[in-house]
Structures are given as C-alpha cells and as structure tokens.
Symmetry: C2
Subunit: 640 residues, 2 copies
Amino acid sequence: MRTGIATVCLSGTLKEKMQACAIARFDGIEIFEQDLVTSSLSPEDVRKMAADLGLTLDLYQPFRDFDSVTEDLLAANLRRAEAKFRLMSRLGMDTILVCTNVATATIDDDDLRATQLSALADLAGEHGVKVAYEALAWGKYVNDYEHAHRLVEMVDHPNLGTCLDSFHILSRDWDTAPIEKINADKIFFVQVADAPKLSMDVLSWSRHYRVFPGEGQFELAKFMGHVVRAGYTGPVSLEVFNDVFRQSDVERTAVDAMRSLIWLEEQSAKWLDTNAPVANGTAAGAAATQPPARRRYPMELATLPQVAEPAGFNFAEVKAADTGVLEKVLGQLGFEFNGRHRTKDVQLWTMGHARVIINEQAPAAAEPAIAALGFDVDSPVIASARAQQLKAPVVPRKSQANEEVFQGFAAPDSTEIFLCQGSPDGTAAWTAEFGQGLEVPSGARNAVIDHVNLAQPWQHFDEAVLFYTSALALEPQPYAEVASPSGLVRSQVMQTSDRDVRLVLNLAPVIQQEGADPGTAPRKTYQEHIAFAVDDLVATARAARDRGLAFLQIPENYYEDLDARFDLDPGFLDTLRDLNLLYDRDADGEFLHFYTATVGSVFFEMVERRGNYDGYGAPNAPVRHAVQYDHLHDLTQTNH
Amino acid sequence: MRTGIATVCLSGTLKEKMQACAIARFDGIEIFEQDLVTSSLSPEDVRKMAADLGLTLDLYQPFRDFDSVTEDLLAANLRRAEAKFRLMSRLGMDTILVCTNVATATIDDDDLRATQLSALADLAGEHGVKVAYEALAWGKYVNDYEHAHRLVEMVDHPNLGTCLDSFHILSRDWDTAPIEKINADKIFFVQVADAPKLSMDVLSWSRHYRVFPGEGQFELAKFMGHVVRAGYTGPVSLEVFNDVFRQSDVERTAVDAMRSLIWLEEQSAKWLDTNAPVANGTAAGAAATQPPARRRYPMELATLPQVAEPAGFNFAEVKAADTGVLEKVLGQLGFEFNGRHRTKDVQLWTMGHARVIINEQAPAAAEPAIAALGFDVDSPVIASARAQQLKAPVVPRKSQANEEVFQGFAAPDSTEIFLCQGSPDGTAAWTAEFGQGLEVPSGARNAVIDHVNLAQPWQHFDEAVLFYTSALALEPQPYAEVASPSGLVRSQVMQTSDRDVRLVLNLAPVIQQEGADPGTAPRKTYQEHIAFAVDDLVATARAARDRGLAFLQIPENYYEDLDARFDLDPGFLDTLRDLNLLYDRDADGEFLHFYTATVGSVFFEMVERRGNYDGYGAPNAPVRHAVQYDHLHDLTQTNH
C-alpha cells in the first residue's frame, strides 16, 4: 500500500512538515495549498526537497467552488484553475483535488455540471493534469460520492476521475459497498480519516475533530476493503483536520499518522479475509456464510506479525529515589517482600499473582512514579517485532547472562511497556532472579493486578489509544468524563475481551494558578495508580488498617448519599464507613474498593468485584478526585 | 436583583467555591449535590460557613429522574427524596431542584406524573421543602417549560413550583413570552446561562459550552424581561457548565460571573424600557410602536452609570527596558518624536492623530510589549465609575499637579485600559505635558489607530469578551479561526458601531516542544500588534522603505496565488510584491496592508481601507502567521 499524508495534518512550516513525513517514512504527501502559499520555498525548492527526501508529491489540494456556476464565474474559475495547473507543472505534480461547490454554486443541473467539468478536464489535459473530483459532505448540490462519480462517468474524460474521502462518505453514513463497482481507473485518489461519532454539524466535525485511523469510530477497514476490491492501487493518504495535531510536535504526529496507516493496512486485509465481495448489488459480509478464500488484489497489503491480546499483567514497576514509603505502603497492604534482584537495584513485592517491582535506580529527588508495566503475551519476540513495525520506540533493558530478557518499548506517555512470557499458572520465571528465591504466598493468594490508571498528556491522548490498540491488541471502550475540582477528567478504558488486562487512560486538566510565574509548571492535580483485585476486600482493608495503612479518607457525606441511593444494610454501611471503603452496584454486580494516600505521583487501590460487575466505580471517582485535590491543596498551602 | 450562582460553575473544593462567591459578593449560592457529597465539610459546617460568609443557601440541586416511573421505582425515589429533605434541613435549605426524568421514565402520562409529583410535594411539605420542577431540554417526556408548568398547575400544591432555566428554554428555541403569564408565586427559582449558538446535540452543548451572560448569543435580556414582568422576585442564579471555567482560578471566575449578572440586570432593565408587555397572547416587542413608559416591577433592577461607546483610540502604549529599536521602527514608519514627558520616563510619538507612548519604566531585560490602551470617552469619570461597578480592577496612574489624571483599570489579559477625554478635533490635551510642546504634523496627517490586536490567555477569553462588552460598550462580532503553523488561532473582533474602535482578541495556541522540561514555559508563537490607518499606503510603504524599515517579508508564492484569485493589474501586483504589501478585496472595497518585523512581543501594521472594506485581511492572516513563525523558529534554532 502506498502511504500518503496531507500537509494540513501537521504543525509547522512546509519544510518542517516534509522533513517529518520523510522521517516517518511516508511514500508521498498531499500539498495543502495554504502551506505552499505561506511558504518561503519556491515551487522548484519544494520539488527538489521532496525528491531529496524521497517523497512523491501526490496531490495538490484543494481547488474549491468550481462547478454549478454562471458563465462569468466559470470563465474566472477556469482562469484560476489554469494558474494552478501551471504551478503544478513547476512542482512536478499531476493530480489536483477539486471538491464539489459549497459557496458559489447557483445552478443545480447535472448536465450543466458535466459540461463545466468537461471544460475543466480539457484544460487539465492540456497541462497534463488529472482532476480528482470529490463530493464534500456539505456540498451545496453534490454531497454524495456516488453522485460525484455519476458526473465523472457522464463526462467520460481521461483527465477527470473520482476522489474518495472516507470522512465525507462515512460522516453521512453513505453505503460504501458500491465503491467495489467503480472502475479502478476512474478512482484518481483515496483519502482516509477517522472520527469519533459526534452529534454536531458535519463541517465543524470535519474541520476540528478528525483523527487518524484507529483513533475514532468509523468502519475504515470496510471502507478500505471495498476500495481494494475495486482494484485501486494508488496512494492511501491521510487528510486529518484536528485542532490538537495542528499544535503538537510535528515529528511525533507524523509517526502517529504512519502507525495508523500500517494498522489500517492490516485491518483492511483482515476485513477482506472475512467478508465476501459484493455480488449482484448485495452488500459485502451480509451474505457471507463462510470466509472467502484469501485472494490477491492489485493493491498489495503488507501484514504485521500477529499477536493475541495479552493474557494479563505480568508486573507493574514503580520508581523512586527514596523507596522507603513505597515499601511501607506495600507492606501495609499485605504485599510480601520477595527480595532484591541479584544484579540490579530493584526489589520484588508480591501479593498472590500481583507483582510490583520497586526500582531504586531513579535520579536523586525523583518522587515515586509508575515507570513500567509488564504484560503476559504468547510470544514476546513476535509481539515485540509487531510493536517495532508499528514504530514503537524500543527501550532496551540491561540484563546479565542467564537472566530473562524483556522486550520493551515506550508508550506515548513514556511509560515503559514490557512484553513477558506468561505462564498458565500465573507465576513468572524471572522472579527466580530475586534473592529470596520463590514467592511466599501472601494473605490474598488470588490477588492480581486489576487495572492500571495512567495520566496522559493532552497532546498524545489519541496517539495513546491507537498505540495500545495496534501494538498491544487492547480494545478501546467508549470514554467517560468525571468531574474533579480542577476540571473534567476524560477517562478512556482499554481492555482485553476477557478483562484480564484493563488499562485506563486519563486525560487530566491542570489549573494554572493566577499570579504564578507563567514559566513555572502548572500545579499537578492528577496522579496515577495501580489497582489490585482481592477476594475479600473487607478482610484486606481490616488487615491493612491493623498494619497502620494511611487510607484515603472518605467524607461522611459520601456514606449518607450512598445510603440514600442504595438503601444499604446499616451494618454493611457502617463497615464501609469504618474502613473508608467505596461502593457501587449495577445490574451485573457490586464493587467495593479503597485507595491509599498518594506517594509522589502514585497511589494504590484495592478492589473486590462481586458478580459480573465490569466497571471501575465511576460514580465514586469524583469523591476520590476531591479528597486528593484537597489533600494536595493543603500541602501546597503549607509550603507557602 | 438577588444574585446567585451554582457551585458547579467553579473549580476547587466546596470551601474554596463558597469563599470565592463571598469575595465576588454574591447574595446566595446553589449547592450542587456532588460538591457536598465529595466535601469533608459536614452539612452543619456548610450552613455555618455560609452564614459567616453572608451567603444564603438558595437551592439544593439536582434531584434527578423522579417522575413518570413505575410504582416500585416511585417508592425508592420518595425514599431517596426524603433522605435529601432531611439533609436540607441540616443545611438550613428550603428549595430543591427536581428536573424532569431522563433515564428511568417509562410511562408517558401527565395524570400519572401529576400524581407522582403530588406525592413528592406532600412529602416535601412535611419537611418544609419547596420543590422547583424544571424541564430539561432533553427530558424524556417533558422537555418544555410550559409543559412542566402545566404539571405544576395540575398538582396545584403549595410545595411544588416551576424552575425556569434559560439554557433549557433558549437552546430549544421555546418562545419566552408565555413566561409573563406564569403566576409569580409558582416560579420557585430562575437559573440563567448563556451559550454560543452551536449546532450539536443539546446535552453536550449544555454540559461543556455554557458561558456566563454576555459571553454567548442567547437573548437573555428578553428572557429576564419576561421573568421580571411575571413578577418574580427570587434569586437570579447562574448555572454554567463550562470546561474552561471548571479549571480556571476560582476567584477570577466568580468575579467574571458576578460581572455577567450586573450586566444582565442592566440589559434586562433596558429591554423592559423598550419592549411592550405581552398582550392577548402577542409576543412582546413585535407590536410595540413606541417604547412603554418606565414602570416599576416587584424585582428591583439596579442600574449602572451609562456610557456611550468610545469615540476612538486616544493612544497606545508600548513598554520596554531598552526602547531603542521601538523608537527606530516608529521613526521609520513616519512617526514623529514629540518629546519626553515632563515628569515621567515616557516618550510621545505621533503620526496624524495616532499617538504612541513609549514607556521606559519597564523592569530590566523586559522585551517590548503592548502595555496600555487609551480610549476617548464622553466622561472618563462616569465611564470609570461604570467599570468599577462592573468589578474592573483599578490601575492608579501617578500624576503631578496640573497633569491630566487618567482613569484606568486592568483588562482580563492585564493590559491597562485608560479612559480619556476625547476632543472633537482628534487632539489630546495631555500631549502638552510633553517637552516639545505641540504635535508636529507628520507626513500622514490623517493617520489614526485602526485596530489593536491583543493575545488572550485561554482561561480568560470569554471573560475578556464580557469585559469589553460591558465596561467599554464594544460589540462582539462572530469569531473567525485562522490557521497558523502552531495551530488554529481564534480571532474575535470587538468594535464600535462606527468602527472608530476596533479591538481584536486572539486566542493563540502554543506548541509545547517535545523533550522540553515540562517546567519551562512553552514557546511563544504569537505576538500582539497595533495597526495604523493611512490614506496612501503605497506612499507610506515607500517612505518607510527609504528610511530602512524591516518589513515582514511576504513570500513570492503569495503574490502568485493573489494573481490567480484576483486577476490584478500586473503593475499593481508588482507594486505589492515590491513593497511586501498584502491585499484583499470583497464586495465592499479593498484593503492594503503591511507588517513590520517583530520587536519583543509587538509589531506594527499599516493599513489602507478603500471603499467600505470592513475586514482585516483575514485571508492574509495565515501568511503573516507562517512568516512570523518561521522567523521565530530561525531565532530559536540559532539560540541552540
């Protein structure tokens, strides 16, 4: 698959954008007109730079508001088009995007449109230019790709073809199956963009909220499957207008973009493997009783090393300069110290099958923080190869002879992710590298890591979703928003189908305090945490209290509200209150949990899931945020 | 008018919110349930703190999903309600908001709803509680305030009344005139919120984008006019869910909120003065041929000192530690040095009626920046009194005997705003305080300040719009979005009806560079500027070039695109190109302009308006942003 990207997806100058696209190894780019007009590079400079960088210049775009106009305006539009054709010749480009008229169309007549497009195609032919005609979702008279393609067929000119843009098609819910019936020679270009399903006007949706494939909710594999079956072999090019990407680091965004195309390529191949071609006007998939045999298409789709979703968390690692408080808290929670590593400055703490590594190799004064997560996978080598093909930055971990080598890479928020060999009985061979030998069973022998909650920087939230989807086979769930004293927290669960891995990505706001020097970092009001599941939370909490654990203190008002909502047994409510436990209930089951006080930027949670409760106690999250904020605020005030 | 605000409008803990509301001098507050549930303050603590702060506790809210339910659920809901009534008794509160059912309603029957609401009202009566019933815009069966009020009338119970919320009414475009016909005794509460007109689902619009009155586009004065005519005398209370306010400084937001109510009170009085009451079912205003005589209503509406819109800019002030480059640039533009102030370290530079003060009293190493703007008003004393009643922070300016005293205050972005005595001939008396005596006519004797463009921090953009609307009588225009290499720039024009004052508020993005220490300030990519209008821009540019001015260099690609778009006379195009001039044209006229290079965080623009051109050359803004970014980037690279 030939990969492309429109320069409008990225921040920076045209030069910076082109460099970033080359570094991310795109095959070609679309030149967004405004990026050229505002550039100090001449067309000849751009042409040479692209050649030097190994980038093809695939599409000049957009040319707006051409068709359905009066005679006067047509003449002006042809003059304007000719100027652009001349410019394209200097750029060495041969394809231009012409989108259906939004602003100046006054005549709704397909015959007239065909005549006008024919004149444009003639002019384009004189300059060796191919016109790719695209239906905008909000085009005044033409807003449907099938309508646009009927016009292309009416004109029947070698220099006029269709441009298919997934956003304009999927945002309007147009059926994509008819794409298969389009003559591939007449598909001049294909643009792809994903988007979250939003209920808003399609123009604003398009201009601000598009995301890269895999970061939204469109059925892009199906769209691409139809395109591939049509026989299209040209570039598959990203055109994503996104307010955040426009202000994020250009190289990071370009890599994220490339990752999305690599992933889409794989998903398209999978879709083709499991959905039958459109036959006699029937939509694909619906009639397929068994998967069609794999066949080859003119567009070759590269595949990635295949991995199953991870079987569980292997370990979580917390790093600090002074690890004393961490050790104390884990001990109070009921974790057992399993010794020091024989060659590294790390400790192992376990509770049942929940393993926590305390890493002492942190810079001086570094506060405790979550540094790494280990996941159990079938084959660390294959999973690592897949992650690397998806452009995950490799994190080497030093190891001595006879020690297990972890395959690791850095997640977008720079948490280190390690791929480990899981074992059916839930143990981990590498624990033998620790001094005390075998694990000593703790009180909660069935304890596991239930979920891990990581704070994400706002620039990389969508990137993180795609990263965990594509590299680790986690499935994004619909996101929630939770109120906190410092703003709304966007919370996105990524999980495996059997829930053995649950990762929560939280986009946390920060309050910039008035009067603070703008050069100082904003007050950090969000922390990350690791949650452990046990069979008997009340017993776990009691034991922890006896060991002196500092619980997050839950306000009395919470328990009164809980009683008003759930009509709980008074004795049970007293137990919750007494132990600072939180409670939730839904149709599937019950959830009990408690939090520790925060150490550095990390805290711990213990949970008990009763029945088939599948959530995270979301109604209780505002209580946690408020208490943590209050505590942080107290500390802040004290320091002043 | 009794002023109120819901705690959900603000960031922080309940305690912080209450303190901020008291500082901003609200009469009372609504307790948003979650703020109490998550608080460590007991209900008794809250009651005492409110009393100590001089705040009444006006409304407990919200109580959700009560009506239209099955018998089982009704019993549970009544139990839940009774728990809240008991809690309210501890808080010393007597009014609760019950909103129409969204989630659990299954029976669409007004008789049943009336029966259920009647049971609730009976229970409320036993606890001395008044139930204010509100139609949510997305209520399952009841989403219209008239419907909700019909239910209140059906029940006809002293403990059941209506709550009117401007968002739920105006977002659905319900007619507000029938409010006048509601029995005032049955209006138990009034909530107000403004909002920009957005085309999106009403729930998301409501939960994220509400703003304070005057910051959006709803006809709130009309809404309030009808409420006042109905005879309502209770609190007018803000309920604004806004993602930005939720993460902004709590005291700032509370003051912004109070300003919006003071302004709304005045606007409501004006609306009442100019619109006739609803008669025989006719909507107010439509039938009014002449304004009704002012009359008194049960709710007293305080008025503010009245001011007309400013007649023009009196001066702009730029401040720097080293003013050398500023002096050079102004001189090159054709400004004349009019001497130093006789007692202060400031210089006066003029071109026609455009006056620029260069203030040398900046801290060491302070880069040149726009520090203050002076506006010509009819009466500085009255305008200053108005601004102070609108809670504008006063900025005292030192002056000696016989010197003009400027009334000044700080805008939300901390630019100092001075109110000056304008004179009909465009001169300013205070210029006599400068050493060289009278102004020396410069080459462009008709030059004036055309507009000033100020960068706004994102937390205070809405606040700034309301500030200039209410304190300075500027009118906000629909905002535009301009692409820049570092993201979209939101650009909001505030102007007077005759365009003698044009102020542009720009919300600029910032790129946080990867790898940069998060504690360092993000790279500043946006600058502020002052634009001067002259009669002959080409002559002004030629003269400036002869004096050696460093123009912002416009790329050749721009001129080629300009030609493609406008088919310009080749000689004229050469002139533009030769002088780095930018050009725009619309149905009303033409616009020529050029920019200087940036000095510190400020640059200058010279413009010529031909015909009735009323814009700012918006199509050219991306060129300016790109060139400025490129230049800044070059400097950044050099420094590394």
